[in-house]
Symmetry: C2
Subunit: 121 residues, 2 copies
DNA sequence: CAGTATCCAGGAAGATACTG
DNA sequence: CAGTATCTTCCTGGATACTG
């Protein structure tokens, strides 16, 4: 819960850009994973979700709020984001997606390379 | 296999626009479902996938091809698209996503309405 | 039939600067 | 700290017309 988020939890070595499945917008899946073990503050989220601007993260969070997946609570002097029960119910589909990615990542990469090779030839 | 695709299989009553999960781009999930029971031709796909322009469908198909999820075969005088084994392996995650949507659709709609009401007030 | 070509409008997202 | 405001660029995607 209170452990800080690992700055490398979305290391570029796991290039989610290539993922053919997605939850919400570009950042929403990462936000959900960050909230998996308890509430987090805005600037906490910015650490592992590298390269996200305040604007983009705000928009993603607003979208998740609008869909009832994430709650925003303003305490005195700080703001916390947390998963709602509905958001938490997404963890299972998300896990299935991640499992698929692990199982088929090689094939995915190979297919892309074959395609690139064919295009170059 | 040979049965024509139901033109209403993606009826607006199932507004996939609201779906917070997605496979590939805007149309890819629908393409995959269309190919579930066997190969289809370009213009067959355009029937249930309403409102897709040739350009958008082409782009979606090219993306799926590039990722090795769909194969394109030019027979004499016709072109057929089919799922590859890799593409077929996506059917399970896709089913999980659809099951989630069925289970939580009400909550999702309610959350949106509550949000809209709050914004209006 | 199965696309390609061209034009255009709207949204996504980065950079940067600023605020209660 | 938790954003908002502005500007700009990129990209998506729709409309339309055309082609082998």
């Amino acid at each position: 819960m209170r452990a800080p988020l690992d700055p490398d939890m979305f290391d570029p070595l796991c290039p989610s850009e290539l993922m053919p499945m997605r939850i919400g917008d570009k950042w929403a899946g990462m936000v959900i994973r960050c909230l998996e073990h308890g509430p987090r503050r805005f600037s906490e989220l910015r650490v592992p979700i590298r390269g996200v601007t305040a604007k983009a993260l705000t928009k993603s969070l607003r979208g998740l709020e609008r869909d009832g997946l994430v709650s925003r609570t303003a305490h005195t002097g700080r703001v916390e984001y947390d998963l709602t029960p509905l958001g938490r119910s997404l963890l299972h589909p998300l896990a299935v997606m991640c499992a698929w990615a692990q199982d088929h990542w090689e094939e995915l990469i190979d297919a892309r390379e074959a395609q690139t090779a064919a295009a170059t030839a």
